[in-house]
Symmetry: C2
Subunit: 421 residues, 2 copies
C-alpha cells in the first residue's frame, strides 16, 4: 500500500509540474515553439534506430501475449512510419498558432472594452493504446497550441513510448520549452489511473483514444472533462433512388479501404426496392471484395451465404470485412435505425433525390454526414483541417476531427477605467 | 423497490419523448418558435395570480423548513419578478436564431463540398435549486435554440415550478411546438437523479445551476457531459500602483452591490505598499459598508476589528458582506494565490501600470479578467451577450456567460457525387 501511495503522489506531482510548465509555455513566442517542433523532428530522425530497437521489444512481448496481427500492426514502427510522424511535426510547425487571437471585441455604452481571446486549455491528459505515433502527434499538437500534456500510453507500447519520450526530453532541454510540458506516465496500476481521471484541479481535459472499452472506462470514471473520441458504428443508407455505380464504389471504399478505422462503414441500410432491382450487382460486389454479410431476414433471403444478423450485429463496430445489412422501406426507417444504433460519428446517404438527402442530413444526429460520398473522409487531413488529435463523437466543445483550434479555450478580458455596475 | 423501478422508467420515458420532440422542433421555423415564446409570455402574465398563489405555498413550507431569508428571497416571486421574466422571453424572441447557419464552407481539390453548420445540442437536462425564474428562462433559451429541455428544479420550489410548467404546457399545445419539448421532472428520489445523470443516450448535456454542493454532486456522478456553472470565488487584486478612488469604488461595488451572486468578490488581495499608504481610506470604506473582514496577520494588524483568516477563508465563496483580505508583495504572489484558491470565474486587477495588468491578464486562468473594473460585469446581459442560461466556469465548449450560441453544436455536411477516398 505504501508503494501505491508513493506512486499516486508521483502522478500528482507530475500534473502539478505540468500545470506550472503550461503557464511558462503560454508566454513563449510562436518562433520558440516552432523551433522546438522542428528540432524534435530532426532528433527523432537521428535516433530512429534506438526507437525501432525499443519497438522490437514491444513487438516481441506482444507476440508472447498473443496479440492479433491487426493489433501488432498498429504497434509496429518502421523507419517509414517514424519519418511519417516527423514530417507531421514539420507540418504542425508550419500551421498558424491558434492562441492569442482576439476572436471578438466590443465596447459597452459605459466605455468598458470587452475582448474574447483564444488561450490554451492548460494541461491535457492523453490516454491511448497501442499506437506509439500518438506519443509524437499529441506532443506536437500540444506544444503548438501552448498546452502541457501528460501521456499515458498502453503498456503494450511502453518500450517504444519510453524511447520516443527520451528523445522528446533530450530535445526540450535544448529549447526554450520547459521539459515538464511533456511527461510520460509510466505507472499502470489502477490507483494511478483513477487519480489521472479525477485530478480536476490540475488537468483540464482528458482525451481517450482507443477502443470502445478504454473510452467507456474514461467516460464512466472521470470527473475531469473529456473530449470523447472515436467509436464509429457508421452507416451507409442506400436509398430507393441511389445510383448503382456510385453506391457500389462508395460501399467498397467505406467498407474495405481500411476496415480497422473508425470511419469505416459497419452497416449498410438498404431500401428494399433498390435491393430488388440491384441484387445481382450487389451480390457480385460483396463477393469480389470478400465482405462477410450479417443480414436481416429479407436481405439474407436474397444474398447467398449471408448470416442472419442479431441485435448485437446492429450495435457492433466490426473493424473488419464484416458488414451488417438492414433493409428498410423509407428514409425515415433508416434514420430511426441510425438513431438507435449509431455512435454519432459518420453517416452517409446515397440517393439522387435532393429532398430525401436533405431530410437525412437534417435529421441524422452525427459529427459528419455524407451525401453521395464515402464516410472515409472523416479525418482532419482528408477534410483539409490539418493535423488531428482525434475525432470527437461528442457534441460539447468539438465535433468531428479535432485539430489545434480544438485544443484551445477562451478568456474574456475587460478593460475599464474604474468601471462599476 | 417496485415503486423505484416504475419511477426510474418514468424519467427514461420522459427523456426519450424529449429526444423525439427535439427532432421535430429542429425543423420548425423561427417564426413558429418566436410565436410560441411571445404567447408563453402573454399566458404567464395572464396567469400571474395562479403562479403567485403556488409560490406562497412554497414560501410557507420554506419558513417551516427554516430556510434563510436570503434563500427565501431567491424563492419568492412577485408580480414584478414574473413580468421581469416574461419580458425576458420577449427579448429572446427578438434575438437571432443561433442554429442552421453555415459557419464555414469549402470545396476540396477532388470537388467534395464541406460545410460546417450550427445545430441544436438536442436534449438539455437543467438541474437547479430555489429560483423559479430558471423554469422560464431556461425554457425560453431552449425553445429558441431548438433544444428540448428536462427541468429538474429544487423541491423547495416545486409548487411554483408546477404552476409555471402548467402554463407552459397549456401554451405549447396551442402552438406548433411539441409539448414534450419542455418537461418537468417531479420525482426527487436518488434513483431518479442518478438516471438523469447517466442517460447519455438520451440527454446531450446537463447544466447544473446552484450552490457548490449541487454542482459537486453533478460533476462527480454524471456521465452525461456537463456545462458547469457558477461557483465564483472571485478576487480583487489591489496593486501597488492602484488608484485609490477607483479601487475603493470597485471594491464596494464588487463586494456589496449583490453579495449573494457568483460574480461578487470574496477576497481582496492587497499589495503591502498600497495598504500602508491607504489604510485609513480603506478602513473607513470597509466600515461604512458594513464589510466583515477576515484578514491575514499583516492586514489584521492594520484593520481594526478584522478577524484572522484561516485556510478555509481563502477557499470560501461567502456570498455575504464578509471579505477575506490577503496581503502580498508582488503581482506574482497574487497570481499564485488565485491559482490556488480561485474557481476560474472572474478575477480583477486594479493598477495604473500596464505591464502589471498585462501580466495579470496573461497569467490568470479564469473565464473573465478585469483591469480597473468590477467583477460584477460577468453576466450575459451586462456584457451585451443577451440572455444567459448560466455562467460557465469550465474550459470546454463555453467559458463565461452562456447564451443561445452556447446551446448549439455543429455538424459537418459533405456533399459529393460518388466521392471515395
Amino acid at each position: 500500500m505504501v508503494l501505491l501511495r508513493e506512486d499516486s503522489t508521483k502522478i500528482e506531482i507530475q500534473a502539478i509540474k505540468a500545470k506550472k510548465a503550461a503557464k511558462r509555455l503560454s508566454i513563449l513566442s510562436t518562433e520558440e515553439k516552432n523551433q522546438a517542433l522542428t528540432l524534435l523532428a530532426d532528433q527523432l530522425e537521428a535516433k530512429v534506430e534506438d526507437i525501432l530497437k525499443a519497438n522490437e521489444i514491444d513487438i516481441k512481448y506482444g507476440r508472447i501475449e498473443g496479440y492479433s496481427e491487426a493489433y501488432l500492426d498498429r504497434l509496429t514502427l518502421t523507419r517509414e512510419r517514424v519519418f511519417d510522424f516527423t514530417s507531421g511535426l514539420r507540418e504542425v510547425a508550419k500551421l498558424p498558432v491558434p492562441v492569442g487571437d482576439t476572436l471578438s471585441k466590443w465596447t459597452l455604452d459605459n466605455g468598458l472594452l470587452v475582448k474574447k481571446v483564444s488561450v490554451p486549455l492548460g494541461v491535457i491528459g492523453m490516454i491511448y493504446e497501442a499506437r506509439p505515433n500518438v506519443t509524437v502527434d499529441a506532443t506536437g499538437l500540444a506544444l503548438k497550441s501552448g498546452n502541457a500534456i501528460l501521456l499515458k500510453g498502453g503498456s503494450s507500447a511502453i518500450f517504444s513510448n519510453k524511447a520516443i519520450f527520451k528523445v522528446i526530453q533530450e530535445t526540450l532541454v535544448k529549447t526554450a520549452i520547459p521539459k515538464e510540458v511533456v511527461q510520460l506516465i509510466e505507472s499502470t496500476d489502477r490507483t494511478a489511473t483513477q487519480q489521472l481521471f479525477t485530478m480536476k484541479e490540475h488537468i483540464d481535459v482528458l482525451i481517450p483514444r482507443g477502443g470502445a472499452s478504454l473510452i467507456y472506462s474514461v467516460v464512466n470514471e472521470a470527473t475531469v472533462p473529456i473530449l470523447e473520441t472515436g467509436v464509429g458504428n457508421c452507416h451507409l443508407y442506400i436509398d430507393r433512388e441511389a445510383d448503382v455505380e456510385k453506391t457500389l464504389n462508395i460501399l467498397v471504399n467505406a467498407k474495405t479501404d481500411r476496415p480497422a478505422v473508425c470511419n469505416a462503414v459497419e452497416t449498410a441500410i438498404i431500401h428494399l426496392d433498390w435491393l430488388e432491382h440491384n441484387k445481382q450487382a450487389l451480390i457480385k460486389t460483396l463477393k469480389d471484395h470478400n465482405i462477410s454479410v450479417h443480414a436481416d431476414k429479407k436481405a439474407a433471403a436474397v444474398i447467398p451465404g449471408a448470416g442472419l444478423a442479431n441485435e448485437e450485429d446492429w450495435a457492433t463496430e466490426y473493424l473488419s470485412l464484416d458488414l451488417a445489412i438492414k433493409t428498410v422501406t423509407s428514409v425515415e426507417e433508416a434514420i430511426e435505425h441510425i438513431d438507435k444504433y449509431g455512435t454519432k460519428h459518420s453517416e452517409a446517404i446515397i440517393t439522387e433525390n435532393r429532398k430525401t438527402s436533405k431530410k437525412f442530413m437534417d435529421l441524422v444526429d452525427a459529427a459528419a454526414i455524407y451525401h453521395n460520398a464515402s464516410t472515409r473522409f472523416t479525418d482532419g487531413g482528408a477534410l483539409g483541417l490539418g493535423a488531428e488529435i482525434g475525432i470527437s463523437t461528442q457534441k460539447l466543445h468539438a465535433r468531428g476531427p479535432m485539430g489545434l483550434a480544438e485544443l484551445t479555450t477562451t478568456k474574456y478580458i475587460m478593460i475599464g477605467n474604474g468601471h462599476v455596475r
